[in-house]
Symmetry: none
Subunit: 190 residues, 2 copies
DNA sequence: CCTCGTTTAGTAGTTGGTACTAGAATCAGT
DNA sequence: ACTGATTCTAGTACCAACTACTAAACGAGG
């Protein structure tokens, strides 16, 4: 087995650490077959905190109820957001999301990405889906990176209308029109 | 302020630590106005692990929760099915399915229940959702038992039209009309 | 007063680090 | 092949937050 080059090792390190935050430097040194010092230099360069801080961070996500709204309750990772205007998220179809037989993503994950993006883009204390018309244009396969874009068309005080399109490598795979019901604490009467 | 007696302090200690697992012995010693050693004796007697272990435990719960949720194949348990005709499933809204703030189920779980029911009721090697029009009629709350019923309206050789209604204690909470694409071959050319 | 439960103090050792210095190995270009 | 930079390894001193242990002080009851 050949040792990795620095940059390659650092990429893999980032992946490893984010998929399993519980790995100590010692374990990582074994995995990559380098010294502990090398691992520490890598973490320093990549701004990866020590194992205890990583664990603490994961644990905080549970207790931190404020933060969790924008982080936890979303399928896919939000990569750009302008509240009450538009939002972008990335969802990668993994083993758990696809049919075993043909490796095509189950529709409800695409819906979930779009739906949670709609919830996130509405900057209101309460936002619930009211109706949706959706089209699954092309199947999404295992490993596909789905970029979903939600654009708020109008907000009339109670109902927001949002158009969502999802693409894999620029190709449309899903589109939908969502009506979201929302209320703000006393901002609007209702 | 009077110092607590041993037993009383230990009770309060248990409460404190379980409500905030991030407290170090040093902090606890300050809180109860005793020495660190006393806190450590207490933890020993009460079998409370050290701060880092407590944090690790919380973090583990968190990652387990995410994993078990994302790996869910089908949402809801099928309780009655007549292939190509109708199907019933039960879904119970649990902690992981609801918004933390208001304990209302996220829309995509209701969609997922309906969607996977539609996939199941089509007796074909391949069944993919093509379009859907859906209505979230009433919010579903934590603990609600949602019964979803899918009825196949027509199947024309490639597309099946299915009506789904979901109820909690006889009250409509969700309805939708799904068009499912299906083939015997397992081919799909978008 | 003495005793026993309780509390405090202090020491040595552990884990998983940070921060730093210094030297060895490797590679890239001339 | 030699030079110089990059990369890796080694080693030291230090830290937080402990465990595990010993020993002493306190405090109220018999």
């Amino acid at each position: 087995m050949v040792k990795y080059k620095k940059t390659e090792r650092q990429e893999l390190l980032l992946e490893r650490v984010s998929s399993d935050p519980f790995l100590t430097d010692e374990r990582l040194a074994e995995i990559f077959k380098v010294s502990i010092q090398t691992i520490r230099l890598d973490r320093l360069e990549l701004d990866i905190p020590e194992v205890r801080e990583r664990i603490k961070h994961v644990a905080r996500e549970e207790t931190d109820k404020i933060r969790s709204l924008s982080l936890q309750e979303v399928i896919g990772e939000i990569i750009d957001i302008e509240l009450n205007d538009h939002a972008l998220s990335l969802f990668i179809a993994e083993e758990g999301h696809v049919f075993k037989k043909n490796k095509i993503a189950r529709g409800h994950y695409l819906f979930a990405q779009a739906n949670s993006l709609c919830v996130a883009v509405i900057d209101q204390p309460l936002a619930l889906t009211k109706t949706a018309q959706i089209d699954f244009v092309r199947p999404v396969k295992l490993g596909d990176k789905v970029i979903s874009k939600a654009v708020v068309e109008k907000m009339d005080g109670r109902i927001a209308t949002i158009q969502v399109v999802s693409k894999v490598e620029q190709r449309l795979v899903f589109k939908g029109r969502f009506e979201m019901y929302y209320t703000g604490e006393g901002e609007y009467d209702g």
